[in-house]
């Protein structure tokens, strides 16, 4: 049952990578720039949740704290666009990219200054509980991560399919000028996409910190999620999630079966292989048809 155990914990990790990758794709579709701070958004979301929940800080009820953290991250994303990103309008995309890299440094510094550099674990109601199926032992945290990720992905998918706002976001990402012409308030929509990226990051952060300790430098795993987004085709929401799952699953298996050190390289090796053999990503076709 070793295999099964590895698979489940890989999937749970992969969900978090997938959610960060989702954030990459959302921002990329809306602004054509890559937000390299997306991993740090996740870390910030985690620390805000920890700050609200853990008994050493505010000690709020977990089920109250998480929505508040999500709200805060949504507002931060929105403000970031209004106060900073929007002012870069008309600058080359690379300027936005560099700005997000700098933003990542700032977030890591600020979080470290406020909450310190020690690893923190989110106190959840389901911490330490286990589900035993035969020889298979599943942590509640891992199950929660997988279920919440699936739910969130499904909600996003429906949102982009059905909701008027979701349609407007899609339209604006496909043809910004045409979106102006039909009366979509493109700038406002762009701010809302940054808010959405903040929300997704908060969920990813809460999930990450519920199954393992997090410290300010954890945000750097955003690079792995970036590889996941590339594998998925950098434009497809389901592709991003599946890219994340692939990386999440490959890591523990590589660590288990290959000599030490190889598992660190595995995500990037896969990314390179995908770029060489399917430059448009695994889900390029899907990107042409769907969200």
């Amino acid at each position: 049952m070793d295999m099964m155990q590895l698979l489940i914990s890989g999937l749970a990790n992969g969900c978090v990578y997938g959610l960060i990758a989702l954030g990459f794709v959302l921002i990329y579709k809306a602004t054509e720039a890559v937000n390299f701070a997306q991993g740090d958004f996740m870390m910030l979301g985690a620390f805000i949740t920890i700050w609200l929940t853990n008994t050493e800080y505010l000690g709020l009820n977990f089920y109250l704290a998480v929505p508040i953290a999500i709200l805060i991250m949504g507002v931060l994303g929105y403000l970031l666009d209004i106060l900073v990103i929007r002012r870069m309008f008309g600058q080359p995309q690379i300027a936005v990219v560099i700005l997000t890299i700098a933003l990542g440094f700032i977030i890591r510094f600020v979080v470290g200054a406020i909450w310190g550099h020690d690893p923190h674990l989110l106190e959840t109601p389901f911490a330490g509980k286990e589900l035993k199926i035969g020889a298979l032992v599943l942590g509640y945290e891992e199950i929660a991560v997988i279920i919440v990720t699936l739910l969130l992905t499904f909600m996003l998918f429906t949102f982009f399919r059905k909701a008027k706002l979701g349609q407007a976001m899609q339209a604006a990402s496909q043809n910004q000028l045409a979106a102006y012409y039909v009366g979509i308030p493109v700038k406002k929509i762009q701010s809302l996409v940054w808010a959405l990226a903040g929300i997704v990051a908060a969920v990813a952060g809460a999930l990450f910190a519920s199954k393992g300790a997090i410290d300010p430098s954890t945000g750097l795993l955003g690079i792995k999620a970036f590889a996941a987004a590339v594998i998925g085709g950098f434009g497809s929401l389901p592709g991003a999630l599946i890219g994340g799952l692939i990386i999440g699953v490959v890591e523990p298996f590589a660590a288990y079966y290959l000599p030490a050190g190889y598992s660190q390289v595995a995500p990037y090796a896969i990314m390179l292989l995908v770029l060489i053999f399917r430059p448009a990503g695994l889900f390029a076709q899907m990107q042409n048809k769907k969200v």
Binding site: A171, N175, L177, A178, Y180, V182, G183
Partner: protein, 269 residues
């Protein structure tokens, strides 16, 4: 304005729905619109002719709020809208159908159409307008589920017009709807435009390079050159004018070439 049926109405009704005065627009340091003034009356089709780069598209973009003018007045039904954002202007029932079929390529045809009603909330009427739009463009109904990017050029142009109609426009700004279409399709689209003008009472500002078809459907015409209006007259008079014939309708004038050129210069500025 001879063809305007409103001529018989009291003076108030004859006020222009769209009035532009001394408009100036820039791309960075480049001045693309250099003091344009024009008027459009209710129910009219007004065409704006001009060679490549004359500033026709820029003028429409400025009117529809996609670009902000540096100077001048844009009055819609007597209200100055020159500082409003594009979405605000769509809400005032003036819609821009852009050049080059700017559609949403990955959305289905029907979603492209329904997103045209983005600024509206009257659900029932939106449904009815969808049917109305499909009755003018039956081919779009057949292709409702198809991805818009896979439509032919002519169908995409129809889709862009259909999407514009969904905003319930009183005024439509159309940028070169004939661009890249076969003569037969141009004929078809212009027939539909004329019908929309008469049946749905849509006032139109029609930018065109194809002077012949444009002047045939239009009531009034302006000619633009290098960011300025250089000529304005009733459409039938423009159609018979020597300058227009020479420059846009391809009618040859072999005699006294040098002298004619000079004269044309004079009348154009």
């Amino acid at each position: 304005m001879n063809k305007n049926p409103n001529n018989q109405m009291p003076v108030l009704r004859d006020a222009p729905v769209l009035r532009i005065e001394n408009l100036e627009s820039y791309y960075g340091p480049i001045m693309a619109i250099r003091g344009v003034s024009l008027e459009v009356r209710e129910g009219q089709i007004v065409t704006i002719l001009g060679a490549n780069g004359a500033g026709k598209t820029t003028l429409l973009k400025t009117i529809s709020g996609v670009m902000t003018p540096a100077k001048g007045i844009i009055e819609l039904n007597g209200e100055n809208i020159s500082t409003l954002e594009a979405d605000q202007i769509v809400k005032k029932h003036m819609v821009h159908v852009p050049e080059g079929r700017e559609i949403f390529p990955l959305l289905s045809v029907e979603k492209n159409i329904s997103i045209g009603a983005y600024v509206r909330k009257d659900r029932e009427e939106i449904k009815r307008d969808e049917e109305m739009v499909y009755s003018y463009f039956p081919i779009l109904k057949e292709r409702a589920k198809q991805q818009a990017g896979t439509l032919s050029g002519g169908q995409q142009q129809m889709l862009a017009i259909a999407r514009g109609l969904m905003a319930k426009p009183k005024i439509m700004l159309l940028d070169e709807p004939s661009l890249g279409l076969s003569p037969l399709l141009v004929e078809e689209i212009f027939t539909i435009l004329k019908r929309l003008n008469v049946e749905q009472k849509v006032t139109m500002v029609l930018v065109e390079q194809n002077a012949k078809v444009a002047l045939d459907v239009a009531d009034y015409g302006y000619v633009m050159e290098l960011g300025r209006i250089v000529m304005a007259d009733d459409a039938d008079k423009l159609e018979n004018s020597k300058d227009i014939q020479a420059f846009y309708l391809g009618v040859r004038q072999d005699n006294e070439r040098g002298q004619r050129r000079y004269k044309q210069r004079k009348t154009w500025r």
